[in-house]
Symmetry: C2
Amino acid sequence: MIFDEVVQKAVEETNGGIAAVIMASDGISITQYVKPEKNIDLETLGIEYANLLAEIAKHTEAMEAGSVKEVCLKTDNFLSVIRVLTSEYFIALILQKDGNLGKGRFILRVNAPALLKEL
Amino acid sequence: MIFDEVVQKAVEETNGGIAAVIMASDGISITQYVKPEKNIDLETLGIEYANLLAEIAKHTEAMEAGSVKEVCLKTDNFLSVIRVLTSEYFIALILQKDGNLGKGRFILRVNAPALLKEL
């Protein structure tokens, strides 16, 4: 299934890839992939991403910036790329803090059309 | 003054640069620069960025991701890079949607130490 393929590819082909999830904006995931040796509670993380996107959308509306397309987030412990697919779905990729953010963004971007066909 | 220099440099040296602001987390700016021909309400935008960072910080805490260092945001109309300087201050750069996000991030990163000295 294309969803499973893309989340696995995003994690395995990005240096520092830890996990990826395709999720509905209500916080329920379609599919997820966590690198075997990694211990991460992706369900909780995904729900936080869903809430975060909803908050960001409120602010970008207030800013007259239009809809959110992509968010990259660098924190002490992780890098994250969240790509909005439709108004209902997004894909998020989590990397180690020294991971290749550019490669991660690229993989999400080039695979988005295939995901959109199925959503 | 270094603050004025950096906001102007960030806008003028980044392809598609529109505006930049150095702002306290309470939404009051230290300095800002808007490209002469651009019409943008940077005060309002800055306050939205300050609120957005506060919201993101709440979520990254819940995610045990640590403190926010940088946020890149792509919307229908703009690209934005927000770099956290201290717990109290951040710098935000706004670009046209086809602007050079990588260059913008780079300029904020290399100039952060000089700003930190003054904060």
